[in-house]
């Protein structure tokens, strides 16, 4: 016997209705039911952060939440950070400027984790950024350019940090 639940989510500004099995995770509902491909699956166990989205403005690992629990919530993914006219969010722009992504698989989750940090701590130092991102694994970048990007978006990228050579010139 399969019971299905009706849920409503606002995903990147658009209202979406769908039915889910009670056991379905939010990440599965987003990817499988709603075709939202930004958040990725890296471990389905809360350890990698690839699935991080903003749920009502707070960073949540969407593999650790049931879709049914998110009923009625406002979900923001990497696709919803840019302005309506397509202008990148300053954090996205900073990721681009500082080469904070290589394969890009961790990137949507990184962006959401960093958004949460900058909301609660608008002027973080290097250590704050590293701590805030420790839930998000990246196998490509060695994190340095990601930390640079977040600091730069916050306006706290110091002269001593490792800004990409030629970046700001």
């Amino acid at each position: 016997m399969k019971s299905e639940l009706d849920i409503m989510l606002t995903v990147d500004g658009a209202e979406e209705r769908t039915t889910v099995e009670p056991r379905m995770l939010l990440i599965q509902a987003l990817r499988e039911k709603l075709g939202v491909k930004g958040p990725h699956i890296g471990c389905e166990s809360g350890r990698c952060g690839a699935c991080t989205v903003l749920v009502n403005g707070e960073a949540v690992k969407s593999c650790m939440m049931l879709a049914a629990q998110a009923d009625g919530a406002k979900i923001t993914t990497a696709a919803g950070l840019a302005a309506e006219d397509g202008t990148l969010h300053p954090l996205q722009q900073a990721f681009h400027e500082h080469h904070a992504l290589q394969c890009g698989y961790c990137t949507p989750g990184m962006l959401c984790a960093a958004m949460d940090l900058l909301k609660t701590n608008p002027k973080p130092n290097e250590n704050d950024v590293r701590q805030a991102l420790r839930g998000n694994l990246c196998r490509c970048t060695g994190y340095q350019h990601i930390v640079d990007a977040v600091l730069s978006a916050a306006g706290t990228l110091g002269s001593g940090a490792s800004a990409v050579k030629g970046a700001a010139e």
Binding site: E21, R23, R31, E32, V36, K37, G38, P39, H40, I41, G42, C43, E44, S45, R47, C48, A50, T77, A78, A79, A82, L88, Q92, F95, H96, E97, H99, L101, Q102, C103, G104, Y105, T107, P108, E126, N127, V129, R130, Q131, L133, R134, G135, N136, L137, C138, R139, C140, T141, G142, Y143, Q144, H145, I146, V147, A161, S162, V164, K165, G166, A167
Partner: protein, 780 residues
């Protein structure tokens, strides 16, 4: 004026889609009507399969089919490719033992996670539920997982046909000369070390979507790969037994590969077979637990080596004895990695008159081992750089002086080190000096004394790495001018896994054809488009692809000149192309008569055989390049707790000419962190009794996170390579080659203060505490 030129930190063109959630990774593909496949894997590391009962699984809701190894054999499917074994000749001249790996195990499983059956259902959840219902009777067999124990003739042979666990006994070099060097040495430094096994863990798990077109009798596979052509040929030739043209392989964005996504894994022919049989697309996506149990793993060597020195500390010879763990089956390149991949890189950047490398490869009840970032070169570098440090202390010369005495000097470049290290360029002293200056080496003893007051042991470690990037294959490219859209389409046989190929090829074509970045569209990852392609692997893409693109753009310009000559009523010899000046125009030399590239393409219709202005390029000339550099790492260890922190990390690299310094910095950072990951915590543990992978999740398998690392100070000394036209040296793997020994040498430098002389990777606070504690007990 260069518009998007070479040598600049141009921002990446691929970023736009990747930072807005628009990447197209393998799991993002859905085909209409697709069914889902879930693989039933062995719970045992070693067992006979007595029977497989699929009846209840077949009866479960949503189940479409259940496949077993027997069915695949009856259908005539071949083995999973392990092409490289054929390259290995044993010391006695006989061929290496070759394992047979079926797509699905038939009567025997040899590692926990070995694929046994495939359940295909309407939904993933239904397939997972039904997979639990496949009933398999096993008879458990004794397990061997440890590298050294597997080499012990008294351990049970997991491949009885081989008579032991030895897959091959291989050697290279002049054994007699190396032995004589040791016998006649003034001093011999001896070292035994472990190069620990790594789980690759690209963030994107593997996935596969198989399709079959009945009318055309043709398969299509969407898969995250490191090159579609190689994968196509292996699957088609070795497993499906079809002509390669009957299979199209497509790869779009790839969430990291690091060697591991190169290979023809069993799941790929499986989805293709199922798609044909069922007449509908079949999709499989690994979860992380499956990645741990089915992606090839890396390294896993135990090595004993001797370094012979004369009275002045000059190297006389090196003798190496390695046991390499290949896992349960030889993976595609598995046999190649400990032997032919590093070749004589164990000599490092030093003059070594005699070297012998003896490798015994063993088979164990573990996941197969294959190329992982660096593939044999990190292992080689780790060994020689540990040996040099140890020799430096033993002779009293210290780690810096002993290296300087043995460096191949810049004045002697190019230098042909026997048996097979033809260095083309390099200035090792210069890079070392720069790195020492950046590390403020002069003030190190002062820093160390200050830390000692806080109960901290400070150590500084040095590595001078060199690596040999790949050569000896062909790369292909194609250019097509689209006059209607005013863009040039660029097709290459390389395959980005996140390294930024789209940007670098755009830079290169921009500098050749004088186009803006937005007039260039880069494509790759479709085996139907080009005749072949070398993919990504071996840090070769930059010179191989620009080589092929260079040939294609020269051809394109020559074709264009013919047309321009007609249009401008001039002799072809008088036409020049001004791409290098940032103008996409053909002009009559010394006049203002000119015609734009796209205009020429419009005129091309009717004037050339093809409807459009197009050109193809093939490139195969490049020899190996030898990126090299000095890495210096400073580590602070808490004497009481074993807690440690990297406080300084400097890399001064020679990558020849650098096309995009920003992208190269990213490669270096990422490479260093993968190397550090291996050295400072990545630990793959198989239970000795049961053979289970105990570190099979991100909970149990540590990987470096943002707060475990410092900022890296990276810079380049650009000493052009002589082996390719751009003078570049591949940068993709270098960081991983240099980092492990820089870190371990730093740790040992610190531990020496407390009387500890050896430690193996991975170093953890616990292993440090144990080492420090043990030394104290010994002293008491």
């Amino acid at each position: 004026m260069v518009k998007f030129g070479v040598g600049q930190s141009v921002r990446r063109v691929e970023d736009d889609r990747l930072i807005t959630g628009g990447g197209r990774y393998a799991d993002d593909f859905r085909a209409p009507g697709q069914a889902y496949m879930v693989v039933v894997r062995s719970p045992y590391a070693h067992a006979k399969i007595l029977s497989i009962d699929t009846e209840s699984a077949r009866a479960a809701p949503g189940v479409v089919d259940v496949l077993t190894g027997q069915e695949l054999q009856e259908a005539g499917l071949g083995e999973v490719s392990n092409a490289a074994v054929a390259l290995i000749k044993q010391r006695d001249g006989s061929p290496a033992f070759k394992t047979t790996r079926h797509v699905l195990a038939v009567d025997r499983v040899r590692h926990a996670g070995d694929a046994i059956a495939a359940v295909i259902a309407e939904s993933e959840a239904e397939a997972r539920d039904a997979a639990e219902l496949v009933m398999i009777d096993f008879e458990e067999l004794p397990v061997v997982v440890d590298t050294e124990k597997a080499a012990d003739p008294s351990s049970p042979a997991i491949w009885e046909e081989a008579g032991s666990n030895l897959a091959y006994d291989w050697g290279k070099g002049d054994e007699e000369a190396a032995r004589a060097a040791i016998a006649n040495a003034h001093h011999v430094t001896k070292l035994k070390l472990i190069n620990n096994r790594i789980v690759v863990n690209a963030m994107e798990p593997r996935a596969a979507l198989g399709m079959y077109d009945k009318e055309q009798d043709r398969y299509t596979l969407h898969v995250p790969s490191q090159g579609v052509h190689g994968l196509r040929d292996r699957i088609a030739n070795d497993t499906l037994k079809i002509a390669p043209e009957k299979l199209r392989v497509i790869t779009e964005d790839v969430g990291g590969g690091f060697g591991m996504k190169t290979f023809a894994y069993p799941e790929y022919p499986l989805v293709l077979y199922a798609a044909k049989k069922l007449g509908r697309p079949v999709k499989w996506t690994a979860d992380r637990a499956e990645s741990f149990l089915s992606d090839t793993q890396g390294r896993d060597h135990v090595t004993e080596a001797q370094l012979a020195l004369d009275a002045e500390g000059h190297i006389l010879g090196i003798y190496i004895d390695t046991i390499a763990n290949l896992g349960a089956y030889q993976s595609q390149f598995g046999a190649f990695i400990p032997t032919l991949a590093p070749r004589d890189m164990q000599a490092g950047v030093y003059k070594v008159p005699a070297i012998y490398n003896h490798v015994r490869a063993v088979l164990t009840n573990t996941v197969p081992v294959d190329a992982y970032r660096g593939a044999g070169r990190p292992e080689a570098s780790y060994l020689i750089e540990r040996l040099m440090d140890k020799a430096g202390y033993e002779t009293g010369l210290g780690p810096i002086e002993i290296r300087r005495r043995n460096f191949i000097p810049a004045e002697e470049m190019p230098y042909n080190q026997k048996p097979s290290l033809p260095f083309d360029s390099g200035d090792f002293n210069r890079n070392l000096n720069d790195a020492l200056a950046k590390a403020d080496y002069e003030a190190f003893e002062k820093r160390r004394a200050e830390k000692a007051k806080e109960g901290k042991l400070l150590g500084l470690g040095l590595c001078y790495y060199v690596e040999r990037t790949a050569a000896g294959m062909s790369e292909f490219a194609q250019l097509a001018v689209d006059a209607e859209a005013n863009v040039v389409h660029v097709y290459t046989g390389s395959q980005t896994n996140g390294q930024g190929h789209e940007t670098v090829w755009t830079q290169f074509i921009s500098s050749r054809l004088g186009l803006d970045a937005d007039q260039i569209v880069v494509h790759s990852g479709d085996s139907d488009v080009l005749p072949g392609g070398a993919g990504t692997g071996g840090s070769k893409a930059v010179y191989m692809s620009t080589g092929a693109l260079g040939v294609a753009s020269d051809t394109l310009i020559e074709k264009g000149k013919q047309i321009a000559a007609n249009e401008l009523e001039a002799a072809v010899a008088d036409i020049e192309y001004r791409g290098a000046d940032g103008e996409a125009v053909f002009a009559v030399v010394g006049t203002d008569k000119r015609i734009d590239l796209f205009e020429v393409a419009r005129k091309a219709e009717g004037q050339t055989d093809s409807a459009a202005l197009e050109a193809a390029g093939e490139y195969k000339e490049a020899g190996n390049s030898y990126p090299n550099g000095a890495h210096i790492c400073e580590v602070e260890i808490d004497r009481d707790t074993g807690d440690f922190e990297i406080t300084r990390y400097i890399a001064v690299d020679d990558f020849g000419h650098v096309i995009n310094p920003m992208i190269v910095a990213g490669q270096v950072h990422g490479g260093i962190v993968q190397g550090l990951g291996q050295a400072m915590g990545e630990r793959t543990v198989y239970d000795e009794e049961s053979g289970q992978l105990l570190t099979g999740s991100f909970q149990d398998y540590w990987m470096p996170r943002a707060d475990d690392l410092p900022f890296f100070d990276t810079s380049y000394n650009e000493i052009p390579s002589k082996s390719n036209q751009l003078g570049v040296k591949g940068a993709g793997e270098a960081g991983t080659v240099g980092a492990p020994s820089a870190f371990i040498n730093a740790v040992l430098d610190a531990l020496r203060l407390a009387g500890v002389e050896n430690i193996d990777m991975p170093v953890t606070p616990y292993s440090l505490w144990k080492a420090l504690h043990g030394a104290e007990e010994k002293a008491a």
